[in-house]
């Protein structure tokens, strides 16, 4: 039980703004790709509020952010990706 708690505490949730999103299908693809990154627990995004919520391992967050940015740029280069 104790171990489980520690594990849960290491997860963190961050919300990002994806300014200039154009294509909903691309967002779906980004979401899928990002959710497969190492350490990512869940990704949800909303095309209309242009937001993405990433729940991931605290320690891996910087790497995940970097990889996520790459994925986003690959599909929609014009998107500005920043923490909300």
């Amino acid at each position: 039980m104790n171990k489980l708690n520690q594990y849960v505490e290491e997860d963190m949730t961050k919300t990002y703004k994806l300014q200039g999103l154009d294509c909903a299908n691309c967002l779906a693809k980004m979401e899928r790709k990002i959710s497969k990154l190492k350490g990512v627990k869940s990704v949800t995004s909303n095309f209309f509020t242009e937001k993405m919520i990433i729940e991931a391992d605290d320690g891996l967050m910087p790497e995940i952010e970097e990889a996520a940015l790459k994925i986003i740029k690959k599909y929609e280069p014009q998107v500005v990706f920043e923490e909300a």
Binding site: C23, A24, N25, N46, F47, F48, K73, Y75
Partner: protein, 611 residues
């Protein structure tokens, strides 16, 4: 956007001229100019994306389809595809922009600043920077930035953004102040009780924004569909371009390539991917405008399938405001009886105890009470000035084997025994909410088969209330745990396809809310516990909002289904017709961008309908 519009207009002029001109060489040059103007950036993006390792995107497929048309000698079609694709994209991005604006205006309850009083000076700072305990100043016309308590001033508050209710609410010194409301006239000073992130307005915004992460079945279906749709359509296109000319006598490559290009044009599932989530998001947004928070698209789906509604009685269908109506004492004076009851119940916050205290009027000297023991679902036992008092319902009397007055009446009887001897009863009655009648009759119109009422009250009270409201079934005398059991029993009896909804006040019935298919908490404005426990939260205490919530859910689902059926069937029809050589590339372009545009407009209705 404007630049693109001009480019498309010029491109269209070249396109029309090319059609009119007779000289075949000049014609082709005009077509090429028109094409570059219309679709140059699409081709450029396609190439860039391939370099990034991203091949089958919309840009690529459109480029292949249009350039392919040029190669098989169908230049007008090639230009037309690109021109119409771009016009469609423009309309679509306009529609998306519009919906984004509607959504953000819907969420426009976020306070931008707070006027905080620091060292005798009023500073304007972001609400996030205000700390608990600080004094904020809210002028007329301003939005309340944080939850607090009024320390000075009085005013009327417009709560409509939170509750959907147009009637203003009065606040005076000492009143609770909820963030997100608008101060209509007076100047208010308030002491902050919650940080911004814990304040009502932020909680509501977070809830609505995160609601889209709990996806409905339709959305999950679309996601799965989109993943396989594009590859399948592209593979069929390739097969269609190559196989028939090889096996069918007289079939030419040109003709079959033309047919296959239509497949590439309709290969984006965009219409579905945009419009279905938008329908749900619009539904959730529209509901929140009505003071109904739906915590996820999946709950909209369950709401729409509701056939059984289980209401908790007190505080949900009735006001939950109890008043002492009658004091019947035996052997002791009525005032003495009331005193014993008020003292014995003084530790409880139950509505009945509060009404006893209210009727007693005098202050309660806590020193005089000892050995208080609450007996859940029965009442309380306590020692008041050395008298052993039992106060509670008939079950309590039976438990202690005390003969009592078995009179039945409309209301709750609190029996009191002093030192083991029956001393009389106090009649306390509740009132049915004004809109409860309307609520029940509205629900009947929404295909609700079964309305059930659960209550901890006695059977006589319960049956009376139910009869007045026209409720089918009543289960009375239930302890909190019995309510869970009853709901479980009802769930096990129903078909899995229909939803059982439980409606309660969200304070004492969290386990029941959790157990029901959809748990609705009512009167939840400002109550975190209720917001936490429920799937659907009704900010006001009006049961008539239940029917509204179901109506919104049904509208939303209908719109989402319309879009799914419309988009898929148009695409399938175009694919079949193209295969048979009966549809042109023009029709295919319509099936792609035209359908998306129409589907987005339709999805927007989900927002408007519910406002």
């Amino acid at each position: 956007m404007k630049k693109l519009l001009w480019r498309l207009i010029i491109s269209a002029i070249f396109f029309v001229s090319a059609i009119i001109i007779n000289d075949s060489q000049l014609k082709l040059i005009m077509y090429i100019i028109s094409y570059i103007l219309a679709g140059g950036d699409v081709v450029k993006r396609a190439i860039e994306n391939i370099k990034n390792g991203q091949v089958f995107d919309e840009n690529f497929l459109m480029s292949v389809a249009s350039i392919g048309a040029f190669f098989i000698g169908e230049a007008p079609e090639g230009v037309g595809v690109m021109l119409f694709y771009q016009i469609g994209e423009m309309l679509q991005s306009y529609a998306v922009g519009q919906s984004r604006r509607s959504i953000s205006s819907l969420m426009d309850i976020r306070p931008d600043y707070a006027n905080v009083l620091r060292n005798g000076e009023v500073l304007t700072i972001p609400p996030e920077e205000v700390e608990i305990g600080e004094i904020i100043v809210i002028k007329a016309g301003e939005r309340v930035p944080l939850d607090g308590i009024v320390v000075e001033g009085n005013s009327m508050l417009d709560t409509s953004a939170l509750t959907g209710e147009s009637l203003p609410r009065e606040v005076i010194t000492g009143s609770e102040l909820l963030s997100g409301c608008i101060n209509m006239n007076g100047l208010l000073n308030a002491k902050v009780t919650k940080s911004y992130s814990e304040s009502t307005v932020n909680k509501i915004l977070e809830l609505v924004e995160n609601a889209s992460s709990r996806k409905s079945k339709s959305e999950k279906f679309i996601t799965r569909f989109a993943r396989v749709y594009t590859p399948v359509v592209v593979v069929i296109a390739v097969v269609l371009a190559i196989i028939p000319p090889l096996i069918i006598k007289g079939a030419t490559f040109n003709e079959w390539i033309y047919r296959s290009l239509a497949f590439l044009v309709v290969s984006c599932p965009c219409a579905l991917v945009i419009s279905v989530p938008l329908s749900f998001f619009g539904g959730i947004g529209g509901a929140s405008r009505n003071g109904i928070l739906v915590k996820g698209s999946n709950y909209l789906e369950s709401l729409a399938k509701t056939e059984i509604i289980v209401f908790d009685k007190t505080g949900t269908l009735t006001k939950g405001v109890f008043k002492v109506q009658k004091i019947h004492s035996e052997k002791i004076k009525p005032e003495e009886l009331l005193k014993l009851a008020a003292y014995a119940e003084s530790y409880s916050n139950h509505p009945i105890s509060l009404s006893l205290k209210e009727a007693y009027k005098k202050d309660i000297d806590i020193e005089k009470i000892s050995q208080v023991e609450e007996i859940s679902g029965h009442g309380v036992s306590a020692a008041v000035e050395n008298i052993k008092v039992l106060a509670g319902n008939d079950k309590l009397m039976e438990k202690f084997k005390i003969p009592y007055n078995k009179e039945t009446s409309e209301g709750t009887l609190v029996h009191i025994a002093a030192d083991g001897e029956y001393a009389g009863y106090i009649l306390i009655a509740d009132k049915i909410k004004d809109d409860a009648f309307e609520a029940v009759s509205d629900l009947r119109k929404h295909n609700i088969k079964d309305i059930v009422m659960l209550t901890g009250d006695s059977e006589s009270v319960a049956i009376n209330t139910a009869r007045e409201l026209g409720i089918d079934r009543v289960y009375a005398g239930l302890l909190p745990a019995d309510k869970v059991e009853k709901v479980e029993e009802l769930i096990s009896q129903k078909s899995k396809k229909v939803t059982l909804m439980f409606v309660g006040d969200g304070i004492n019935d969290a386990p029941v809310l959790a157990r029901a298919d959809v748990g609705v908490a009512m009167g939840a404005l400002g109550s975190d516990a209720a917001i936490e426990a429920a799937d659907v939260v009704i900010m006001t205490d009006e049961p008539s909002k239940i029917a509204k919530a179901i109506e919104i859910a049904k509208n939303t689902i209908k719109i989402a289904y319309q879009n799914i059926i419309f988009a898929i069937s148009v695409k399938v029809i175009i694919l079949v017709l193209s295969t048979l050589g009966l549809a042109s590339l023009w029709a295919a372009v319509f099936a792609d961008v035209g359908v998306t545009f129409i589907a987005v407009l339709n999805a927007m209705r989900a927002l408007r309908l519910n406002n």
